[in-house]
């Protein structure tokens, strides 16, 4: 795969493709995930999911469920501590108490000795509901005469998931004086929007809709909790955010953080969907039962009652001068937050005005409550929705002005120093470099030939992400045999522990085989933020580098004493410290290990410490190009070729970076073409399974070409910047632009289903 890369000389490990250090356990099936752990006396929990979207709970009868052999308890809200329950926050609601706010909301939990008994008994819990009007469509929900999605107004919104992904300060107006389904609004203005449109030679506008989509990690949520005789609660969870979970669980259950241990089990895919959800509930169940309790969600339960990504409606009007200068962007961005606040309005509003220089902006964002499952983060939350609108509009403008769509983007692309709609200036970024890399792909170079063939087209789009910021720490310790242990607190999903091994090995000039990396639990590991917001390498990686440098200094100090050579005259290689120019004066890491760990050891153990706080983002941009074929009679869209270019700053492990880019791009294709959670008019989810919720299969995704672009960041280790999220952003727009190129039909709604293509082509009347 091609790369527009930085010089690699001078580095031994970083910047070179290496195999994941945990891959062997995964290909043999040995690596344990949460559901693979074994606990004596375990109880299996199954949740009773409300079959209505909005209702008052009249009565719950658990007697039949309790009679099922193997059932130990049936727990309702009445059985749980109520003093800290906050009905404004999904995770603190535990079980619905009086009011059901979405279809699938948990109302009771059955605890049984085997999961089949739990599931059977769950079906026998009788709940009497008094149905209330369900608010389903976000635009209707915004009307003054709409029924309210919840009977009590929101007092406190929890935005920690969003902040974990994108950390930025901007004013978000909360709860209004008048009861309304609009739970928050945001406004960004710059320049004079009317003057901007007056200046424009072409103005386009439209309303772009994106469906609610699900992260669809292949491992559904699984949480186990155990409360011991010492009053300590341990939680094993497939979470991306162990320290966040610890604090939230402790807060909700009224325990000190120090009494809660969170073990992040191997995460079978998260994508933002596994930050924090049922850990407090399962903790409460374990405390209630005084036995270990496991909640392993089925796929259906996960689709009903996890935290998918919001549906959005983006109204956008854009103006451009004949020379291709973008002069006005006016947007109204609406996210359907579901039953609780937490929709990514802020990133949406920032990013719709964040890809291009534009002197005149008028951006309004709305977070709207409905009676649907509350939303959470999904890889660059909120960004694909606005990029779909903005990048479609850019193509429409280019077409209107007969300009090259890629050139138009290059002309307006943001660079270092350009402001976001919030005024915050960009640091060094590589949007232009990504576009230039896409311009060099075969797909783009051959676009004119491609277009000669019937129903084929090529489309380009860009998108970016700012990234989350949280402090991080790490330790690097020297073992008795001279090998090195790196300990971090961040869950490894994407191969970050392999990257940390590379960093530590680089700094200590060791073979990779001498370094091991472990993610500790919240009682043993140094603090790290959530594995979200693409920040793990950017933040924890810096901490590991510092910790390795610290260990290096400690090693040199002892070696200096042993060898009687000043530290600055020492060098280290492959576990040997020696005096420069005097190779006979040397001491090995193994000797130093013994000297720092043995009985009566002369020196204190070597423990390098790295702790950082990150205050500056390293935004990442991606440009992508799609070549598609459209069947104009059936509406079927086939992606023939696809390429993703992304600025990653510096690819410490190009193999995993490419995999991230390809994976994110494929998720973008899913949003573009097939994924959609379909709700009926009463707010019931119609497709809670992987048959009718269509993830892209191997047949749908061509081999995606990954082009690494490297514009170094200012603070990241070796110049690395965020990687995980940007690649999901451009897909919907790239495909829509390619479809428009192929058959002339502009699609304003994703997924671009065959039916929508046919309607856009005017082939379906009714």
């Amino acid at each position: 795969m091609a790369r527009e890369t930085l010089e690699r000389t001078g580095f031994r490990h970083v910047g070179r493709p290496v195999d994941r250090i945990d891959a062997t356990g995964k290909v043999t099936g040995e690596t344990p995930y949460g559901d693979d752990l074994r606990f004596p006396r375990l109880l299996h929990a199954k949740l009773v999911h409300a079959p209505v979207a909005h209702a008052r709970i009249r009565r719950i009868d658990v007697s039949k469920a309790l009679a099922v052999p193997g059932v130990e308890a049936v727990v309702t809200a009445a059985d749980l501590p109520s003093h800290r329950i906050n009905p404004d926050v999904r995770q603190q609601t535990l079980l619905a108490r009086d009011e059901v706010l979405f279809y699938g909301q948990p109302v009771a939990a059955v605890l049984a000795r085997d999961p089949y008994a739990a599931a059977h008994a769950r079906d026998l819990v009788e709940v009497e509901y008094e149905e209330l009007p369900a608010v389903v469509d976000p635009l209707e929900a915004m009307r003054e005469d709409s029924p309210l999605a919840r009977t009590s107004a929101i007092q406190e919104a929890d935005r920690s998931e969003e902040q974990g992904h994108i950390t930025i300060e901007a004013e978000q107006e909360q709860a209004q004086s008048r009861p309304s389904n609009v739970s928050s609004t945001i406004t960004f203005k710059r320049g004079d929007i009317e003057a901007g449109f007056a200046e424009a030679d072409a103005v386009v506008e439209g309303t772009w809709r994106s469906a609610m989509v699900h992260q669809s990690y292949i491992e559904p949520h699984v949480t186990i909790a155990d409360y011991d005789a010492n009053g300590e609660l341990t939680i094993w969870s497939s979470t991306q955010a162990p320290f966040h979970v610890r604090h939230e669980v402790a807060r909700t259950l009224g325990l000190p953080d120090a009494r809660v241990r969170v073990v992040a089990t191997e995460v079978g895919g998260g994508f933002g969907g596994k930050i924090y959800l049922y850990e407090a509930l399962v903790g409460a169940l374990a405390i209630h039962a005084r036995r270990p309790v496991k909640l392993a969600m089925s796929r259906k339960e996960d689709m009903l009652a996890a935290t998918p990504a919001p549906q959005a409606v983006v109204q956008l009007k854009a103006g451009m001068k004949a020379d291709g200068t973008l002069v006005a962007l006016q947007a109204r961005v609406i996210y359907d937050s579901g039953a609780f606040p937490g929709a990514p309005v802020l990133p949406g509003c920032l990013l719709i005005g964040g890809s291009y220089k534009c002197p005149n902006l008028d951006i309004e964002g709305f977070e709207v409550l409905t009676n649907k499952v509350s939303v959470g983060a999904l890889r660059a939350p909120g960004a694909p929705h606005v990029a779909f609108a903005l990048e479609s509009a850019m193509d429409m403008l280019a077409q209107r002005l007969e300009l090259d769509p890629l050139e138009v983007r290059l002309k307006n692309a943001v660079e270092k120093g350009d402001p976001l709609p919030s005024g915050q200036p960009y640091p060094a970024i590589g949007l232009k470099e990504c576009l230039e890399a896409i311009a060099r792909t075969e797909i783009w170079q051959q676009r004119h030939q491609t277009r000669q063939r019937p129903n084929r087209g090529v489309g380009v789009a860009v998108g970016g992400w700012l990234g989350g910021l949280q402090p991080a720490s790490a330790t690097v310790g020297l073992n008795a045999d001279g090998t090195v242990n790196v300990t971090v607190g961040a869950a490894d999903i994407t191969g970050t522990n392999t990257t940390f091994a590379q960093i530590a090995a680089e700094e200590l000039n060791l073979p990779l085989s001498m370094v091991s990396v472990v993610t500790g639990d919240t009682k043993t590991a140094p603090y790290a933020g959530m594995t979200a917001g693409s920040k793990t390498t950017y933040t924890v990686g810096r901490a590991v580098k510092l910790a390795a440098e610290d260990a290096r200094q400690q090693i040199l100090a002892i070696a200096s004493q042993r060898l009687e050579v000043p530290a600055e005259e020492l060098e280290m290689e492959d576990g040997v410290v020696r005096a420069k120019g005097q190779p006979e004066k040397q001491v090995t890491f193994a000797e130093l290990g013994r000297l720092t760990t043995g009985f009566g050891a002369r020196y204190a153990p070597i423990v390098g410490r790295g702790a950082i706080t990150a205050r500056r983002q390293a935004p990442g941009f991606s440009a992508q190009v799609a070549e598609v074929e459209v069947d104009p009679d059936t509406g079927e869209v086939t992606v023939l070729r696809y390429a993703v270019a992304q600025d990653v700053g510096f690819a410490i492990n190009p193999k995993s970076v490419e995999g991230q880019m390809q994976g994110g791009a494929a998720q973008g294709l899913g949003i573009a073409l097939s994924e959609e959670m379909v709700y009926d008019e009463r707010g019931r989810l119609l497709n809670p399974n992987l048959l009718d919720y269509r993830l892209p299969t191997t047949r749908d995704v061509p081999p995606i070409e990954a082009i690494i672009v490297e514009v170094p960041s200012e603070e990241g280790p070796y110049g690395a910047r965020i990687v995980g999220e940007p690649s999901i952003v451009p897909g919907p727009a790239a495909v829509a632009n390619a479809v428009a190129d192929a058959v002339g039909a502009r699609i304003f709604e994703v997924p671009i289903t065959p039916e929508r293509v046919l309607r856009a082509l005017g082939k379906l009347q009714d």
């Binding site: 493709p17 290909v27 990690y217 292949i218 191997e266 991230q660 992987l690 191997t698 047949r699 081999p703």
Partner: protein, 158 residues
Amino acid sequence: MPKRLINLTVNGEAYEVAVEPWWSLLYTVREELGLTGSKEGCGTGDCGACSMLVDGRLVTSCIMLAVEADGCQVTTIEGLATDGNLHPVQQAFVEKGAVQCGYCIPGMVMAAYDLLRRNPNPTLEEVRLGLAGNLCRCTGYAKIYEAVLAAAERMRGD
């Protein structure tokens, strides 16, 4: 009613297992035999994470009742590596970077293994067809295609 005794030969070892008629083969192998490599991703046969071979046929074991597999030969992901050596398919997955979160991988490796038994020299399109019952959410499949093609080459000894 007492549980039913069934006979399974799993990865060459014979087991007699007491099962309830409604237990899936996946549940039985994971919970009763302790072979937890096969994963449940959907429970409805739509994701392939639980793929195993039953009498030489690749199946989604989450929707096969254990009683229906009575007397069958079963191969799970744990049965692929021999004498501590990874199967070439597993090796190629490691080397090509085809593994991210890893949850789909046991099923994906089984599907690739089955494909290469039937078709030792697949084209890219045949790989895409052969793995269509196995969803991966992390990789975008590109490196999985590479791994399967590389494994095929290695197994053919080209």
